[in-house]
Symmetry: none
Subunit: 225 residues, 2 copies
């Protein structure tokens, strides 16, 4: 799961990123309005944590642009206690949740997880695709009710596939989601090839059909037949 942390204070930004990275999220951070708007326009995230007060532009404007961009990301606003009006405005502009500073990191983590669950799993903990079942909070995968052990990258890959089932995914989009933007994936898709190969092998061995279809020149599509 990929997050964007928009927060200008470096130490807070770092502690948020460290904490969430430790909990298996892939985090990217932005510290200015310009930085943030660029990342939001270029990449896709599962959830965005947005500090309303930014040095070079108002966070509400940023929020508006995110929403205008027709992005479906979940958004959590953080703000100081005396910026209550901004908070209310944020919710009206379509933020999914808010948090007042100072807050505790576990609480932020709980809310992120709740938003992601709401968005991708319709409130359930289980993701189903034919004979494959993913228990997301438990990070456990079963095929025909038999446990299947996946490595972290394999798990992330399968999760991304199932959430985006029946859609053609470019290799760059997948790579971006699994490794973030600091990775040099322009002319090297060997990572992906290897992990797709390993995931396919494990799924087949577990008795699932090969739902990972290669789309020549583009990427993959996860679907039946």
């Amino acid at each position: 799961m990929k997050l964007l942390i928009i927060e200008d204070e470096p130490s807070l930004n770092k502690s948020i990123v460290d904490y969430l990275t430790d909990r298996q999220y892939l985090c990217e951070s932005a510290s200015t309005y310009a930085d943030a708007i660029e990342k939001v326009e270029c990449y896709q995230y599962d959830c965005i944590v947005l500090d309303i007060m930014l040095p070079d532009g108002n966070g509400l404007k940023l929020l508006q642009q995110i929403k205008a961009n027709n992005k479906t990301e979940g958004i959590i606003i953080i703000s100081a206690r005396n910026e209550l009006d901004d908070k209310v405005a944020g919710i009206e502009l379509g933020a999914d949740d808010y948090l007042t500073k100072p807050f505790h990191l576990p609480e932020l983590a709980v809310r992120i997880s709740a938003i992601i669950r709401r968005k991708n799993l319709q409130g359930s903990n289980l993701l189903l695709f034919e004979e494959i079942q993913m228990d997301v909070p438990g990070k456990a995968v079963t095929v025909n009710n038999k446990a299947l052990l996946l490595t972290r990258k394999e798990y992330d890959l399968l999760l991304y596939f199932i959430i985006n089932k029946n859609r053609v995914l470019s290799k760059n989009a997948i790579a971006e989601h699994l490794w973030g933007d600091d990775m040099d994936m322009v002319d090297n898709h060997d990572f992906l090839y290897t992990h797709v190969k390993n995931l396919r092998k494990k799924l087949l061995q577990a008795g699932a059909k090969d739902y990972i279809q290669s789309i020549y020149g583009i990427g993959y599509k996860f679907s039946i037949a």
Copy 2:
């Protein structure tokens, strides 16, 4: 076993915490509504002791929110004798027990233990998992009916494993439950490694199988096979 004591009067709070800590509970305390709601949202407890009268908000509202949060914690309400209506309302809102001030600490301890027993042990005193048997009130463990001596951390760890059997537990979740929130576990899981190692060794020596499965990059799962 991890408890949260919500009580605004410092001396009473401290004496409750001291008494229960002495009886091997891991206690955290909150003295205000805001403080309490935050802890409840971030952490997980086995039982919550809640004083209905709080300075900055009504305890009943807090109780309602705990229940709304879909938490499964047991809850004991404490209140002054003249707040009988609140007490009744509390039970109706889903509190598991109540106590009127002033009360004796041993009585509180008895009720906490009863709630935990009801919740985790379905009313029994024994927790069973294959050849392992835990007598919770007696803090005694047997494997194939032969006594097994565990240290406190080992005992707490095994108890947490068995209560959460078949679930993937992150190292952070385990650490939080065994050491509380004041511990700096971000990049140091050596505690856990050592205690898991010692617990495994003792269980194996006693003739039990190794039910503690390591989940690479995440934590552990306690289950058969």
